[in-house]
């Protein structure tokens, strides 16, 4: 079976499920969601962080071709940029549905509060999205232009800033010791680069032209890069968790224990560590396996699952710990719970956004000159 057709079908089905979720969200508001006033950010926020990370990371990867002109990555810049764009669109869809009043988003631009990290993030991602669009246009129309390289250089800095801002968004919150980590703004750009590198594996393996002579080298480099970033990420996590447990601040320890042994233990041990880290690590570090294109693609998918779960496991556990002991039972009512598992509507929308991103990548590959190596042809 043609892999592209398979993914078109799968993503189309996912999109249909997502449309039902979006319909429910638009008609009934937030009533049928499971995030609440205590676990106030749920799956949609986690997926926004994930997609935004993939967007920033994909841009970083695209600079290998379009800014640094590394020969083995020749021809991958445009599809990386496009992947970043569709990922950003999926992330914005996710966060738009999460907002209580999306129709007022213009207020962030006109009546905003510049000292808010969220303000900085919204502005940053807006400029970043527009920049990606311009860069993609130039990469297709004028791949050799100086302006493209200047914009790519600027965009590289911006991608570090926006992904760092996501870390800062959480890190500035003294009320949540689990998030209040000074190095979050440093860690998140690394997470983004890891997500971008991982995203390129399935994009190139499943949808990229088979005849590219550099493909094996690309897989090997991206695989080693992904493996190294997984190890760095695991080290960051170990440092965060061990310091938290050793420090013994109750709210912090409770959040770490929630990840390791609480509601989300299976997501952490099985999805994030086993499927999302160790299996890809074992495969991607073996050079002989770069021949197996499909396997490499699926390893990328595994890594992405791990990174998406990791985003959730940064968000939910911190919010699952009551700010004050006994707040959990002080007052009952819908959406007043410290236990959180996404509702059907939340899953539906998330499946839909994943479908949307997948279809976006496929359509881009089919209708835009994203994989063609014009630069090479021009020289020839």
């Amino acid at each position: 079976m043609n892999i592209k057709r398979f993914f078109y079908g799968l993503a189309g089905f996912a999109l249909l499920i997502g449309l039902w979720g979006i319909y429910d969200r638009l008609v009934y508001g937030h009533v049928n969601t499971n995030y609440g006033s205590y676990v106030v950010w749920g799956l949609w926020v986690a997926m926004y962080l994930f997609f935004a990370g993939v967007a920033a990371g994909s841009f970083m990867i695209s600079t290998l071709d379009l800014l640094f002109r590394i020969p083995i990555f020749k021809g991958t810049g445009r599809i990386a940029l496009w992947t970043g764009l569709v990922s950003l669109a999926a992330g914005l869809t996710s966060i738009a549905l999460d907002l209580g009043h999306i129709e007022r988003i213009w207020k962030v631009f006109i009546e905003g509060n510049p000292s808010s990290v969220m303000f900085q993030m919204v502005w940053g991602y807006t400029i970043f999205g527009l920049l990606m669009l311009v860069c993609l246009y130039l990469a297709i129309r004028q791949p050799e232009s100086r302006l493209l390289r200047i914009l790519m250089g600027f965009g590289l800095g911006l991608s570090l800033f926006v992904s760092g801002a996501v870390g800062a968004l959480l890190g500035v919150q003294a009320a949540r010791p689990f998030w209040h980590v000074g190095l979050f703004p440093v860690q998140f750009p690394v997470f983004s680069l890891a997500s971008g590198a991982a995203a390129m594996l399935p994009v190139l393996a499943f949808f990229g032209p088979k005849q590219d002579p550099n493909r094996r080298s690309q897989f090997w480099v991206l695989g080693i890069l992904s493996a190294a970033l997984v190890l760095v990420k695991l080290y960051f996590m170990w440092a965060d968790y061990s310091v938290s447990i050793y420090g013994n601040v109750p709210q912090n320890v409770d959040a770490v224990q929630e990840v390791l042994f609480g509601t989300y233990w299976w997501a952490f041990w099985i999805l994030q560590l086993l499927i999302g880290s160790f299996i890809p690590l074992a495969v991607l570090m073996q050079k002989r396996l770069v021949e197996k294109t499909m396997l490499i693609g699926w390893m990328g998918v595994c890594l992405l699952i791990g990174y998406a779960v990791a985003r959730g496991l940064i968000i939910f556990p911190a919010l699952s710990v009551p700010e004050i002991d006994s707040l959990a039972n002080a007052f009952g009512g819908p959406h007043l719970s410290f236990d959180y598992f996404p509702s059907l509507v939340e899953w539906a929308v998330t499946i839909g956004t994943i479908g949307m991103a997948t279809i976006g990548v496929l359509l881009g590959g089919d209708f835009l000159p994203l994989y063609e190596q014009r630069r090479v042809k021009g020289k020839a």
């Binding site: 008609v27 009934y28 508001g29 937030h30 009533v31 969601t33 609440g36 006033s37 205590y38 106030v40 950010w41 999460d98 907002l99 209580g100 009043h101 999306i102 007022r104 988003i105 207020k107 962030v108 009546e111 905003g112 509060n113 000292s115 808010s116 990290v117 969220m118 303000f119 919204v122 968004l169 500035v172 919150q173 003294a174 009320a175 949540r176 919010l319 009551p322 700010e323 004050i324 002991d325 006994s326 707040l327 039972n329 002080a330 007052f331 009512g333 819908p334 959406h335 007043l336």
Partner: protein
């Protein structure tokens, strides 16, 4: 006590009947009529030490209202030794602000200490702390939440985009999100057998008057649905010279309210006592809610 004459009785009854009639047809107009009749702020009055503390606080409040708004410093004092955990303040707040399910401004936390038979129960009412250094304010991307002239942290429902960043920033869990749920959403209805839903639902959807604005709940999108909500010391009552609902309702007289900048006020006396504490002071939030322990 002055006796009510037959004429007065008929006048009051007539007014009450017409108010009820008006309520049935147009609760907003009826409430508006009531609101306009209590606009004038009453003057402070003399209170003797034997009088109920509520009277003293009322007088303190009226005295404070005569001052420029910037010179008032509203604080709340909660005497934990007097709180009996009746939750009347929570319910009064829900009723006063017409809070929907899942939205709560002043829960009372109950903590059981020790093991049987040496058990004690501790109650901790938790309104918004109205911090002088509120962590919820700088994080708002659209300046929808801010400290108003009274020093109370308020939310502009028409400005709030519903991102809930402020909820995550509050170390007291004092903010809740309005998901648009109604108490009557799941209520059964059966013509002639189960009744009451239409009128209960109509009441529930009729306007609440927080911040002095009439806001109905007729759909899933109109503010305050989709907004973050919180305690605001009943600003709409203060402006009318009335104490916050939780304060007047407290059966143990455990909640005090007033202007800490007035050295003659009851709250100024109370927060000068040595057994005062504030929640999570180490975070530097400078709460305006004090607890007596």
């Amino acid at each position: 006590m002055k006796e009510i004459s037959r004429r007065d009785f008929l006048k009051i009854s007539g007014a009450a009947v017409s108010l009820l009639g008006a309520w049935e047809h147009a609760p907003e107009q009826a409430l508006a009529a009531v609101n306009t009749s209590v606009k004038a702020i009453p003057q402070a009055f003399d209170v003797s030490p034997e009088d109920d503390q509520i009277l003293r606080m009322q007088s303190d409040l009226r005295r404070a209202l005569q001052k420029p708004v910037e010179e008032r410093r509203w604080v709340m004092v909660i005497d934990l030794r007097k709180c009996v955990g009746c939750h009347a303040c929570t319910i009064a707040c829900v009723a006063e602000n017409k809070l929907p399910p899942g939205v709560v401004y002043r829960p009372v936390m109950v903590e059981e200490l020790g093991t049987y038979p040496n058990v004690a129960v501790k109650f901790l009412p938790r309104p918004c702390m109205q911090c002088d250094e509120p962590p919820c304010v700088p994080v708002c991307p659209v300046n929808a939440t801010y400290k108003d002239k009274n020093g109370v942290v308020v939310i502009d429902y028409d400005q709030c985009i519903g991102c809930r960043y402020c909820v995550t920033a509050c170390p007291y869990g004092a903010r809740t999100f309005d998901f648009g749920v109604l108490y009557t959403d799941e209520t059964a209805e059966f013509d002639g057998i189960i009744f009451g839903k239409p009128s209960a639902s109509a009441y529930e959807r009729s306007a609440s008057y927080e911040y002095g604005d009439a806001r109905q709940r007729n759909d899933h999108t109109s503010s305050p649905i989709g907004n973050v909500r919180k305690c605001h010391f009943c600003l709409h009552r203060l402006e009318e010279g009335m104490l916050p609902a939780c304060t007047t309702t407290c059966i143990g007289r455990a909640t005090y309210f007033g202007d800490a900048n007035d050295q003659n006020s009851l709250v100024a006396d109370l927060i000068a006592s040595p057994n005062v504490m504030r929640l999570k002071e180490e975070l530097g939030t400078q709460p305006r809610v004090y607890y007596l322990t």
